[in-house]
């Protein structure tokens, strides 16, 4: 199922992230989630947006280097232990997580996780078998 995540390269300098979000805002792009990974001199911004195609086009026009990657999205009930359960299932099945981040949407009682793994299909199947459901692109648009 998986959802599309856009990664953008920016320099690790004051104002670079502001400039990126201004570009998105000016083009009427709404973000569902954002996470930052940083090194000494640059950062990788990961975005979940409402319109992937438009976003990629805008970023390209503005001279950004970006890439699109399928990542796993799961909805969790907003209660203690629900993340642990997901992680335990992945761990038991020897699935390593490269990185993950959380976001909430306008659905009360639900938290959402983006999980980056090597094999989305395998991870999705394992979660499904354990009663954890993935969110797809369509669910995201409805948020």
């Amino acid at each position: 199922m998986a959802v599309k995540q856009i990664s953008v390269f920016i320099e690790n300098k004051a104002g670079s992230l502001a400039k990126l979000t201004e570009v998105l805002s000016a083009n009427n792009i709404n973000m569902r989630a954002l996470s930052v990974a940083e090194s000494e001199d640059f950062g990788i911004i990961r975005l979940i947006v409402d319109n992937v195609y438009d976003t990629v086009t805008v970023l390209k026009d503005e001279g950004y280097v970006s890439s699109v990657k399928d990542v796993l999205a799961v909805a969790l009930t907003d209660e203690p232990g629900s993340l642990s359960k997901v992680l335990a299932v992945l761990g038991e099945n020897n699935i390593n997580i490269d990185y993950m981040y959380a976001f909430t949407a306008n659905k009360p009682g639900t938290a959402n996780m983006i999980v980056r793994v090597e094999d989305n299909k395998k991870a999705g199947d394992v979660l499904k078998a354990n009663g954890i459901s993935e969110i797809g692109e369509e669910d995201l648009t409805k948020m």
Binding site: F9, I44, D98
Partner: protein, 434 residues
């Protein structure tokens, strides 16, 4: 009282020097004509035979040799003696990756070390001194050259090599080093470290011989003050022998060229025409005594001035000013020769675009070099590990090519300044040539 290592040469009359140079040049030209096909062909192309070179006045007729020629002749193409007669190799970086290797017979090592011995004697060194050599040892000529010179003078020699500042300072205080040989930036750093540790009273240094990189008068004063010594310049290049091609004396106003071994000329770098004494141009050397790897009219690319003005030290050897710049784009970073083309070669080999910028600076007396590379879609990934691994791979490849660490910074596309469509490749913030 001024001391000389070889007074018969160092204070010889100009006439004697010229006679010596002429005899040696004539022999050297015969030698390369007979033993190095590269030179013979070049001379034939220029319509010359050894008979055309009768004295130093004919030197200007000979064709030049360049670093590119050294690269093309790598490794044995310029060898004038059989390998069995050679005892040493030293090496320096070439323009595009292929290194320059210089060969030495025992005779060549001796004359090189004698040149360094002249330099050590000129700063007051005798067999009573403890000579602390903190130049790098190995393929780099700095350590081996001064080490050999120190032996010849009879100093107690400390072959420290570079790095490990704590140990340097401990040996300096415990063993009473009196003469320090290293790069000027390392000398300044040592000076600062010694002050920080409050050990200025515990060191016995009186003089330092600092070369392999450009330094200013301000830096000289800074080092002299911090270490409480006299700081002297020394010049050399692996192609010609190593440090000691020229050296500073008590007057500290330029370096005496060991012209009984290396004849200097100043040329117009554009036309190749020889310029009169006192005019600024590119420095060219002819090694007239070396056996294994003699270079005739080697273009150093250093911009310089020569002067025969009488020197208060009593030496009659011609003096060269501190180099005032380069006629090519070579950078000297931490005493190591770096060509932008080497960096470009690494980037292209690794699949990076040729949009790059080199930033050289001096932070805390130590040179730094940074290579900024524009990010491309091919290099990019959502995964930090992947991007970092690529960055590390580039750092390692640059280290292998240059021999020194260069920081790699990935920058946003189209951020590197371009002038008339071509990127400004090098920003040197050190302002070394004033």
């Amino acid at each position: 009282m001024e001391k000389y290592y070889q007074p018969e040469v160092e204070t010889a009359s100009v006439e004697e020097l010229r006679k010596m140079q002429s005899e040696r040049l004539v022999n050297q030209v015969k030698n390369v004509w007979e033993n190095v096909p590269f030179y013979k062909n070049k001379m034939i192309e220029a319509g010359l035979t050894p008979d055309d070179i009768k004295s130093v006045d004919d030197l200007h007729k000979l064709p030049f040799i360049t670093k590119d020629d050294l690269r093309d002749c790598y490794p044995y193409g310029l060898l004038a003696r059989p390998l069995k007669d050679c005892v040493r190799i030293q090496s320096t970086s070439g323009t595009t990756g292929r290194r320059v290797v210089a060969f030495y017979t025992q005779h060549d090592i001796d004359l090189w070390e004698e040149c360094c011995a002249r330099a050590i004697t000129a700063v007051g060194g005798t067999n009573e001194d403890v000579c602390h050599v903190s130049y790098g040892y190995g393929l780099f000529t700095g350590g081996p050259g001064l080490n050999g010179g120190s032996h010849k003078v009879g100093c107690l020699t400390l072959p420290m090599s570079s790095g490990n500042t704590d140990r340097q300072i401990q040996f300096m205080t415990d063993l009473g080093s009196t003469i320090l040989c290293c790069t000027p930036s390392y000398a300044a750093y040592l000076g600062e470290s010694i002050q920080e540790r409050g050990l200025r009273d515990k060191i016995k240094l009186k003089a330092g011989i600092f070369g392999a990189e450009a330094w200013t008068e301000e830096m000289r004063h800074d080092i002299e003050e911090k270490l409480g010594i006299k700081a002297y310049d020394i010049y050399g290049l692996t192609e010609i022998s190593g440090p000691g091609v020229s050296f500073e004396c008590s007057e500290q106003t330029g370096m005496h060229v060991n012209e009984d071994h290396f004849i200097p000329e100043i040329i117009n770098p554009k036309t190749g025409e020889v310029l009169p004494e006192g005019e600024k141009g590119e420095l060219v050397f002819t090694s007239i005594t070396k056996e294994a790897f003699p270079l005739l009219r080697y273009r150093t690319r250093d911009i310089c001035v020569l002067s025969r003005k009488k020197c208060s030290c009593g030496r009659t050897l011609i003096k060269m000013a501190k180099p005032m710049g380069r006629s090519d784009d070579m950078l000297i970073v931490k005493g190591v020769n770096v060509f932008p083309s080497q960096i470009e070669t690494v980037l292209l080999n690794k699949g990076y675009p040729a949009n790059y910028q080199i930033i050289v600076d001096r932070v805390n007396y130590s040179d730094t070099i940074e290579v900024q590379v524009e990010m491309t879609p091919e290099m990019f990934s959502d995964d930090m590990k992947v991007v970092s691994a690529k960055e590390k791979e580039l750092v390692d490849a640059l280290k292998a090519m240059l021999g020194i660490y260069a920081k790699v910074t990935l920058v946003a596309p189209k951020t590197i300044a371009r002038s008339e469509g071509k990127a400004v490749r090098v920003i040197d913030k050190r302002n070394l040539y004033k």
